[in-house]
């Protein structure tokens, strides 16, 4: 597993996402309310660029007629057939047993640690003063 430095933290404010290609793998990194998550940008259903879909919430109902809308901004809806996945875990809400979006652990590391390694910086210059978004792949 290699750790890749993706971006300085302030380049990815909450609610944004960044697409990148690491070793030929399309990855998207999300900042959800200050927490970072990574997903393979390929839908396990038919292969659409999953992470280009809208971020929505999760509509659930314990009884007909009662609807709860939770996890606002934490669910990604595939741009093709609309399957829904939890950004935090990659869990599918359509067919959780058979399908899961590939999730990658994302962390924030201080520049001092990043400069020391063992990290691969993507296309960014790193300096010790800032914090960086780092993904394990």
């Amino acid at each position: 597993m290699t750790r890749h430095v993706i971006a300085p933290v302030d380049e990815l404010p909450p609610g944004t996402r960044k697409f990148l290609d690491i070793d030929g793998r399309p990855i998207a990194i999300f900042n959800i309310k200050g927490e970072f998550f990574g997903l393979l940008n390929r839908c396990p259903h038919q292969g659409a660029a999953l992470c280009e879909g809208p971020l929505i919430g999760l509509a659930q109902s314990s009884n007909p007629g009662e609807i709860e809308y939770t996890k606002l901004g934490e669910i990604i809806r595939c741009p093709w057939h609309g399957w829904e996945f939890d950004i935090r875990t990659g869990q599918s809400y359509c067919d959780p047993k058979r399908f899961r979006a590939r999730a990658y652990p994302v962390n924030v590391e201080p520049g001092s640690a990043v400069v020391k390694g063992p990290y691969v910086a993507e296309t960014i210059a790193v300096s010790v003063e800032s914090d960086y978004v780092v993904v394990d792949l």
Partner: protein, 367 residues
């Protein structure tokens, strides 16, 4: 919500073997894109009176349907305009990566199903000219469907005959929801003309005949509309068979587009069983209903039923015939089928080739 769309093809796939895509929906980039093909009289008609359809909703059917314009979110052309309106983007996103050798265009939102029949005819003719000008003359892989003012069989037949022998067109296009079930005699001139010029008639799900989507009224959910299209298609197919359309037009070939096919065997079984008891009501039928269906009907694959056990899918296809299925993506619509992902493993090479390309080439007469 911060969504960064990239105007690039989503799929990194590229297919080696060529395929046919028998259901592509081209769209107009702007409303006035049709004006060059419409007489001035109709420009002012459109601007003065708008489009009046048979259904009761002022703005047409409810939108969005699951995704904006019922389309893939990654299919907005980079130069603007709705999904499906840019040839160069369609080439980049669909035709080139998936190695589409034959793409059959089925325009929706044409003049079909309008109450003013003269206007309907003029709009359909304009759409047909536009398909040549904007699509088929610019990319030889694309072939057009002749759209006709379906509720006026005589005018529809005239438009079909006008296009006879034009290699830009490979089928006549109707929709499943009409004022009456599709086998009824107001539609016969269309079938007669199609048989005469040797083109199959495609029946695409949708359309607005003024009736609710289901036989018992308006359902609550879009998901009911999605499955309701199969019910409409069944009504259309039963009507075509029972009115004796295939007896009258024995060379007629028809394509059921975008309504699934898993229901075909059970509809045919049920028709056959009932026919045993009631054949004296329809003495013009010389064969069992299932025989007409198997001989005259082709089926596009999007949407393809996806049963848990693939042998159930294969059994259904065996009943229909591996020679009767036509692969379709439904691009750019949101229920798009990715060509490399739709067919389960376990299909012979010959059937696979027929499914993806051979059947379509044969049916549409493409060398």
């Amino acid at each position: 919500m911060n969504v960064q769309f990239r105007a690039e093809p989503s799929a990194s796939v590229s297919l080696k073997t060529a395929i046919a895509d028998c259901d592509i929906h081209p769209a107009r980039a702007t409303k006035d894109e049709l004006y060059p093909f419409l007489a001035k009289r109709w420009h002012s008609h459109l601007e003065t009176y708008g489009i009046q359809a048979y259904h009761g909703m002022m703005e047409g059917p409810p939108y969005p349907k699951a995704q904006p314009n019922a389309s893939r979110r990654d299919a907005w052309p980079p130069e603007g305009g709705p999904q499906g309106s840019s040839l160069s983007f369609m080439q980049k996103q669909l035709l080139d990566p998936y190695n589409v050798a034959l793409g059959v265009l089925n325009p929706l939102a044409t003049g079909q199903g309008l109450r003013n029949q003269d206007f309907a005819g003029a709009l359909c003719a304009a759409i047909n000219d536009w398909q040549i000008e904007k699509w088929t003359s610019k990319d030889k892989r694309l072939k057009a469907s002749i759209v006709v003012a379906n509720e006026d069989g005589i005018a529809g037949a005239a438009e079909i005959r006008k296009r006879a022998g034009d290699p830009n067109f490979v089928q006549v296009l109707l929709l499943s929801r009409n004022v009456e079930p599709l086998g009824q005699r107001r539609y016969w001139p269309i079938y007669e003309a199609a048989q005469e010029i040797g083109l199959p008639v495609g029946v695409h799900a949708f359309g607005f005949g003024g009736n609710p989507l289901t036989p018992s009224g308006w359902p609550s959910f879009y998901i009911e509309e999605m499955v309701g299209h199969a019910q409409c298609q069944q009504t259309a197919l039963a009507s075509l068979v029972l009115e004796g359309v295939f007896e009258r037009y024995p060379k007629l070939k028809m394509v059921m587009i975008e309504a699934g096919f898993g229901w075909a065997p059970s509809l045919a079984w049920r028709l056959d069983k009932t026919f045993e008891k009631l054949h004296s009501e329809v003495p013009h039928l010389k064969r069992k209903p299932s025989e007409y269906i198997r001989d005259h009907i082709w089926w596009t694959t999007q949407p393809m039923e996806d049963p848990e056990r693939r042998d159930h899918l294969f059994q259904t296809i065996e009943w229909i015939g591996w020679d009767k299925l036509l692969f379709a993506t439904d691009y750019p619509h949101w229920d798009f089928d990715e060509p490399s992902r739709v067919l389960p493993a376990g299909v012979s090479d010959a059937n696979r080739e027929a499914f993806y390309l051979g059947n379509a080439k044969k049916l549409y007469g493409i060398a």
